[in-house]
Symmetry: C2
């Protein structure tokens, strides 16, 4: 196989194709992850044809059945599109997601010529526990709106999140979000025209069953875990949120 990678990426990708057995991750899944990463790094570009299963089997040093299972998993995720007779092709590039004081999901997605969307998964009123109360600067036990959402770009789920807001301040928030699918719009309906993200914590995880169901990905896929705190222009914290984003579909960027 001749590599058509830019050297920049080539080095790290081709260094070693060894796969680990007995590490708790099936071989077919390791191969799927490797291909997924290469696709998200543009090693295989959109609409480019992947090598044949036989070639991939040689590359990874495994049985062809094992490669077939990996490819099937990625095809099921919509990452690969199988066109009968022509081959297997790559689907979609990740969204660039800038983290800044003014981070708005809808605006970010729109600016990249994709259609933003949001779906209400669940909502409830719950009393603030100590951790949440401290972050939101309210008394423990204060009623909070708990809003669980999934956000989309072109109907592809990007991230699932839980948002907490002081209930007293945003009486019609849930309704407004359910109608508009936009947090920004829902907050505006509740009298909050502008706000700032003051802190963001980022970690990584691998997908569990809940992530799979909400984000339409597979168990073991990498996930970006993002916790953010937002405050209004008077400096009062009004929101804490935690979201889990499919790493293959977003690329965080931080300018400083």
């Amino acid at each position: 196989m001749t590599s058509n990678l830019p050297k920049f990426y080539d080095e790290r990708m081709t260094r070693s194709e060894t796969l680990e057995r007995g590490g708790g991750v099936a071989i077919w899944r390791q191969i799927a992850e490797r291909l997924r990463t290469e696709i998200s790094l543009d090693v295989w570009k959109t609409d480019e044809r992947l090598p044949s299963e036989a070639d991939l089997a040689v590359r990874f040093g495994v049985n062809r059945h094992t490669v077939r299972r990996a490819v099937a998993a990625l095809a099921e995720d919509g990452i690969l599109k199988a066109n009968q007779g022509r081959g297997t092709f790559v689907a979609q590039k990740p969204i660039r997601y800038p983290i800044a004081a003014r981070t708005r999901f809808s605006e970010i997605v729109s600016s990249q010529d994709r259609e933003p969307g949001g779906e209400l998964i669940a909502h409830s009123i719950e009393p603030a526990d100590d951790a949440l109360a401290a972050r939101l600067e309210v008394a423990a036990g204060t009623d909070l709106i708990r809003l669980e959402t999934v956000r989309f770009a072109d109907d592809i789920p990007i991230g699932a999140g839980i948002n907490w807001y002081p209930a007293a301040r945003f009486p019609s928030l849930v309704d407004a979000f359910a109608r508009s699918g936009s947090i920004t719009a829902a907050l505006r309906e509740n009298g909050l025209d502008d706000y700032r993200r003051i802190q963001t914590l980022v970690s990584a995880d691998v997908a569990g069953p809940q992530d799979c169901a909400l984000l339409d990905i597979a168990t073991g896929d990498p996930i970006l875990v993002i916790e953010s705190i937002n405050e209004d222009l008077e400096g009062r914290t009004f929101n804490v949120s935690r979201s889990r984003m499919a790493a293959a579909r977003v690329q965080l960027s931080i300018d400083s």
Copy 2:
């Protein structure tokens, strides 16, 4: 079993403890990842005792052996420490890693009372390809120093990275880094006293064999992939780096 989780996390954590079978990721690994995430989110604090293996087995609906396998994996990573008769304790928390204009590995680690270190893995001179040349604002083909490093906190590997620098500008960079183990110190020896990180890209991946070897983690563990661009005080870009950090050992934070 009465839960001793703060409610904040309890809700989200206990909503569905269902683990997926046959998805290519062993159940013990799924449990290990879930515990790892909880620990990094401070659900379990340093030196706090985890619920007994029997209780965790009930919580996850699995056999105690399966929990033991998960705990063993985390213990091997130095995250948990199990004592016969006493219980299992949280040994090491992730480093909080603020992303800002002035981000220095050594300073971040030192400020958290851990000992920073760096090891030179490989180095070479290579011509800039188009992607690198554009980022570094040099002509394609310009000689670059390619510096591969692993960085430590208390001798625990935190991240492995590749750094590119214009070769002409930093004649003794490799030498200086090999001696000091600090990029900041090596740059200072080459006449660059101060610099700013202007952009950071963040994604997630799962560990491959190379990550396992360099970072002493297991295949399938979550990885934070971080690409950063640094410029000097005159606004000239002088460095591009890509590093892969063990997600269990760092928690990125961005203030805006």
